[in-house]
Symmetry: C2
């Protein structure tokens, strides 16, 4: 399934405190990361891939002991893939506060000797970028060929373009936005309230109680999941189909002959699907991380320091940009990408932008779509050609 | 504020069991209702107003001891209002399973001597209509001038048109749909899961424990509330405005100088608003009722018995129809109303339909909008004129 094959995560320790946007700092932290491909001699072929809400450093490939654990962007990154690891040296970093290896709320706070829990400082997109830049320093990468991400990962790429304008030649921002809308924040806040009011949350110190706020996390994920899918896609995949009461009952395609159960269990396929997604997520994801990551989404707003003027906020960017959005994405709709494109054009940046008429809502950025994957492939071909012509010149 | 003034609820007891769509039955039940205006001698001026999710029989006016408790459609119903109580005799009925007086889960189950709780049977839109028809029988009303409702209330009006085609001359269906989409069901199911997994739910028997599943109900309401507002309206009203930390801090209109709190409390106005809505709702609404009413929404699907063919489902309707939808309503979007309109036209029914370009999302059906209120007013003028010309002829 994965063409890159077996990969291994690495980790890097950082003793020097990282100052955070909140005024707090994290000392003695670890970043877990993976790399694919080979860094060339002049270190000019590195691409940083930033992850979204529930993803991690595991961008591509599988682990030797987990052959089914395929990286979240394996269709995008690998030998011969749009982001071709035969050409580029690709890095995936797990962000601070996450629950996949980098220092997060479930790790021991050196100041207290107990898990951070709710004491883990609120981190922002900018903080993640600062931490990623330090990792790049350690890896000896002065300038990335590209920084790339989808959704929350796209926010990190955008933040790179203004925080370290000389450290990336290209910025690839997919299905993202320069700021959340009130509706986006509203969904995040309801999700957080579900977690925060779960009695098993214990003020964030649930690790000490041997429980996790599963019910809250499950509801949070179900809410989120609805916003990742398009209305049309849900209608197409699930519609009002009733779930077969027993697995043998497969001959009734449209469910018309099945009857309602007249209760609050599963009647509809969509209920079964969403509850399954919620159950699965609440098994592996950390509730404190969910709170942190949704807050990072809410707070991202580079124009804020410029009186809301995004053009001013992006004025010091130097990179070239690829942006892509998906027509049925109602979480971060195409208009949000167009706002960024307009602000970049105001600054006379070189921008490629595509709106892809895919049916899969926000999730489309993770899925197979030839038009989308070819768009990214062509863009990386250009990055590669530019680099080669520069080398030749 | 209310032009109809002081009103009083009445109640009607029903000993004969009401057979339900599920196969169960409710015996010894009470319906609470209010009436406004005067029933004329030939009983031809009665209008039934059906309520939506969290509303009740209290459609217009105030109570003598609760001068601030204004009926939910007071801008629509009253002397000189679009549904003019100087002409029409208007009835509002609290539906079975509700928590405002009609028999519901918190009432004593005569079979057990304890509150129904989760034993209260699942009721459907059709069941409510059957119960409403029995109330009409008791009141001596053979035929309504109109049956009218918005959202879930519109579903009841639509069900009346096929269940009792000769008992209404007009059917007024506002901001409604002939069936929920997968996305609608998904939101309802997440809301129910929040309630069902709240430890204070106690399998529906929380009355016995002296608690209510407030946290779950609060999250459920917050989810629902997001779907009632349009994205644009939220952006307009709240945007990314930060809440003033202290009430004196009012000079900073756009909040740009305020800073984030870097926590999970209230930063944004939208959070404050939604949490307030959730808190308020969880103080007065019953969680078992919330489960029942959302399930009634999910199950409504008159085309289901006709292989999904809505035209066939509406074939035996006889009424004339007014439908209205709101451009920014993404819960029951205009396309859902158009589906009903097309099915009625297939059946050569007389239909008036308007799409109103109001910014307020689904909630628009409850709000002041001159175009909307004039549309309804004009329609009721026509009903009145038809009746008079019939009397004259």
């Amino acid at each position: 399934m994965s063409s890159i094959g077996i990969v291994s995560p690495q980790s890097m320790q950082f003793a020097e405190p990282l100052p955070l946007q909140s005024g707090a700092a994290i000392a003695d932290y670890t970043l877990v990361y993976e790399t694919y491909g080979t860094l060339n001699a002049d270190k000019s072929n590195a691409v940083l891939v930033c992850h979204a809400l529930n993803a991690s450093h595991h961008v591509a490939g599988v682990y030797a002991d987990q052959p089914k654990n395929v990286g979240w962007w394996d269709n995008m990154v690998g030998p011969g893939k749009p982001l071709d690891t035969d050409r580029f040296f690709v890095i995936g970093v797990n962000n601070l506060g996450s629950c996949f290896g980098s220092t997060g709320p479930m790790h021991i706070n050196p100041a207290s000797g107990k898990p951070y829990g709710a004491e883990f400082p609120v981190v922002t997109v900018q903080d993640w970028v600062t931490a990623q830049a330090r990792l790049a320093d350690r890896l000896g990468i002065e300038q990335f060929a590209a920084v790339m991400g989808g959704s929350l990962g796209g926010m990190q790429a955008l933040a790179w373009s203004t925080m370290y304008p000389d450290r990336l030649r290209h910025c690839v921002v997919i299905a993202s936005t320069a700021k959340l809308s009130a509706q986006n924040i509203a969904f995040n806040d309801v999700a957080r309230q579900a977690i925060l009011t779960d009695p098993d949350y214990h003020g964030g110190d649930y690790y000490a109680y041997g429980v996790v706020p599963k019910n809250g996390l499950r509801v949070a994920r179900m809410i989120g999941h609805i916003t990742y899918l398009s209305d049309d896609d849900m209608a197409e995949k699930f519609g009002r189909k009733l779930r077969a009461t027993n697995p043998a009952d497969t001959d009734d395609e449209n469910g018309a002959e099945r009857d309602y159960h007249f209760g609050f269990g599963v009647d509809f396929e969509i209920e079964s699907y969403l509850r399954y997604q919620g159950d699965k997520f609440s098994e592996y994801f950390d509730a404190n991380t969910y709170l942190l990551v949704t807050r990072a989404l809410d707070y991202f707003d580079p124009a804020r320091a410029f009186g809301g003027d995004l053009s001013k906020a992006l004025a010091n960017s130097r990179a070239q940009f690829l942006l892509a959005s998906f027509a049925t994405d109602w979480r971060f709709a195409p208009e949000r990408s167009r706002e960024i494109v307009r602000a970049l054009i105001d600054n006379k940046r070189r921008v490629t932008y595509a709106e892809i008429d895919a049916p899969h809502g926000h999730d489309a950025f993770l899925l197979e779509d030839a038009r989308y994957l070819n768009l990214v492939r062509t863009y990386y071909d250009r990055i590669w050609d530019e680099r080669n012509s520069k080398v030749a010149a």
